[in-house]
């Protein structure tokens, strides 16, 4: 009985409310029908705007999180990664000198980037170099710049690119290890960042760059095959030849003093390289995954490529060979990651491992230059090879960079791409050779490039820094 009474009461209430509201509504509509509709639309629009803002904020949070981590990973490649890798390869009297060369880049290039070189590389300028209006980071704020990355603050983009500007000159130090003055090295690197790195970065990655995807000669370089590895590797070769050999090379044995340190460094480079390559997607989406996967396959295949050739030729698979192969593979996959499939990455790595072995072991001794830690043999040669192979293997299914369905690499039918890649590489070689020669000449005539013979015999640790890496007495 009580249930029934309740039902009746509820029905009555419903009729009252519904009827009332219809009545009121019709009265209101009769008065100002347009106003009500506009209000509703305005409310909906407001909600849509709020949703869009919330979605954008969520995407920014995701992308920005990955990009900040990537920036940190790339810095880790310099110190401790590269510092350990190179540090282990020199004689023990030079370990601190070698590590300091990389570490100095972490400080000097950071400051320079803020003052000048970010602007030269990434502010809008002409097709070859950026302008000066972002000097002192003027106008580089927390809002995204859609020309570079629509979902991350421009400052994130700036600091991420800074890490590349740091490691690139640091790579050159491998060529002139154990014999260059610290002061001359710092001046050389500052000038090199301005004259070689900034224009090259602008041409490939900058707005309206000559070699950018929308530019005159689109040279595909996902994470810096030409900008980072060709420029540093070729400049390394020029520097090694200009400076001459170390005293006693190649008669006096100069084996690595600790392959263990190099091993640890190489493993850090490998891990950091995920920030380098996958981070170059400038977002945390599918492209980052694609580049991440290609990076891993490229590195692994190159270990196998280098080691296989070494094993056949020398009878033993060495640890130094395996880690050198990994770095060679990472170099070669750098321009290609983000454009190629995992199986293409395997081929690129395998070829790079065998090719860089030949460059380091055979070609260097044929010509007799003292590229002490093989900066050219690994970065110059591997970067050139990787850039060219990108022209073969780039695939629109991975990254439709020229528009949906448009062929990207040569194997897809775009034969022109190989030519564009070769053009980009050729330009990088030219700028590196000419720029480096000019800088070397200037620094040599003013400060002097090489340490004195006595300082070289004593070692850079003591002669340049007044300390020793290993103190055996205490």
């Amino acid at each position: 009985m009580r249930l029934r009474a309740a039902k009746v009461f509820l029905s009555f209430l419903f009729v009252l409310i519904f009827g009332g509201s219809v009545l009121c509504g019709s009265v209101a509509m009769a008065q100002t029908p347009a106003t009500a509709q506009t209000d509703r639309i305005a409310a909906l629009e407001k909600r849509a705007d709020e949703n869009a803002a919330a979605i954008a904020a969520a995407q920014t949070a995701g992308d920005n999180g990955w990009m900040l981590v990537s920036a940190a990973l790339v810095l880790m490649m310099s110190g401790p990664g590269l510092a350990l890798f190179y540090g282990g390869l020199v004689r023990k009297k030079n370990i601190l000198g070698t590590m300091m060369q990389t570490f100095a880049m972490m400080a000097v290039i950071t400051v320079l980037w803020g003052l000048l070189t970010y602007s030269l590389a990434f502010s809008s300028g002409n097709a070859f170099i950026g302008g000066l209006h972002n000097m002192f980071l003027h106008g580089v704020g927390l809002m995204p710049d859609k020309a570079y990355a629509a979902t991350i603050p421009l400052q994130t983009f700036m600091i991420y690119q800074m890490m590349f500007a740091i490691i690139t000159p640091a790579l050159i130090t491998g060529a002139f290890a154990e014999r260059m003055k610290f002061s001359a090295m710092v001046v050389f690197m500052v000038l090199w960042s301005i004259i070689v790195y900034s224009p090259m970065a602008h041409m490939v990655w900058g707005q309206g760059g000559f070699l950018s995807v929308s530019g005159r000669f689109p040279c595909l370089d996902f994470a810096g095959g030409t900008v980072v590895h060709v420029t540093s590797g070729v400049s390394a070769l020029v520097t090694a030849i200009y400076l001459g050999k170390r005293i006693g090379y190649p008669k006096i044995p100069m084996p690595p003093h600790s392959v263990v340190l190099s091993f640890v460094g190489a493993c850090m480079l490998w891990v950091g390289w995920f920030g380098f390559n996958a981070g170059s997607a400038l977002s945390a989406g599918t492209l980052a995954t694609s580049a991440f996967v290609a990076t891993q396959f490229g590195a692994a295949a190159a270990v196998i490529g280098w080691t296989a050739v070494e094993w056949i030729r020398q009878g033993k698979p060495s640890a130094l060979g395996a880690i050198s192969g990994a770095v060679a593979g990472l170099v070669a996959i750098t321009p290609a990651a983000g454009f190629v499939s995992p199986m293409s990455a395997l081929w690129i790595g395998l070829i790079a491992g065998a090719f860089c072995y030949t460059m380091v072991v055979k070609v260097k001794s044929w010509f007799g230059y003292d590229d002490s830690l093989d900066a050219f043999g690994v970065h110059g040669a591997g970067g050139t090879l990787g850039a060219l192979l990108t022209g073969l293997f780039a695939n629109s299914a991975i990254n439709p960079v020229f528009g949906a369905g448009k062929a990207t690499g040569l194997f897809e039918g775009n034969w022109r791409q190989l030519f564009h890649q070769a053009f980009g590489v050729g330009l990088a070689w030219t700028i590196s050779i000419v720029g480096t020669l000019i800088i070397l000449f200037l620094v040599d005539k003013t400060i002097g490039l090489r340490v004195s013979e006595e300082d070289e015999r004593v070692g850079l640790d003591l002669s340049q820094h007044g300390e020793e890496g290993y103190d055996w007495a205490h």
């Binding site: 084996p255 690595p256 392959v259 130094l320 060979g321 072995y357 072991v361 001794s365 093989d374």
Partner: protein, 112 residues
């Protein structure tokens, strides 16, 4: 008192030490050393460059024993350290004039 200096293969250190302790030798000094006798070195390869290494890792034992212990100690070392191949090492024996225990100035054989 006699001083025995024995340069042996590093892998034989434990066996030699045990053999000496067994015959009653109470103390010894061990140094990681590098050297070579008639044994030739080996070659190492770093990025294809060949380095010949002719100073090989060895362990040097030094111990001073009473005269009557000398032969027993030498036998213990040679037996434990011998592999029969080149590179097994050498033993040098020399006379010791004096031994002094720093803790309490004891001199001679009691200080050993």
């Amino acid at each position: 008192m006699q001083k025995i200096e024995a340069v042996i293969q590093p892998s034989k250190l434990d066996a030699v030490k045990d053999a000496l302790v067994e015959i009653g030798v109470e103390g010894m000094t061990i140094t990681e050393a590098r050297g070579h006798g008639r044994q030739k070195g080996h070659t190492e390869f770093y990025r294809g460059r060949e380095y010949s290494v002719d100073l090989l890792p060895k362990v040097k034992l030094e111990l001073v024993v009473k005269d009557e212990m000398l032969d027993k100690a030498i036998t213990a070392i040679t037996t434990a350290a011998r592999t029969g191949t080149i590179g097994d090492g050498k033993i040098f024996v020399s006379k010791i004039d004096e031994a002094i225990r720093i803790r309490n100035d004891e001199r001679g054989e009691v200080a050993l």
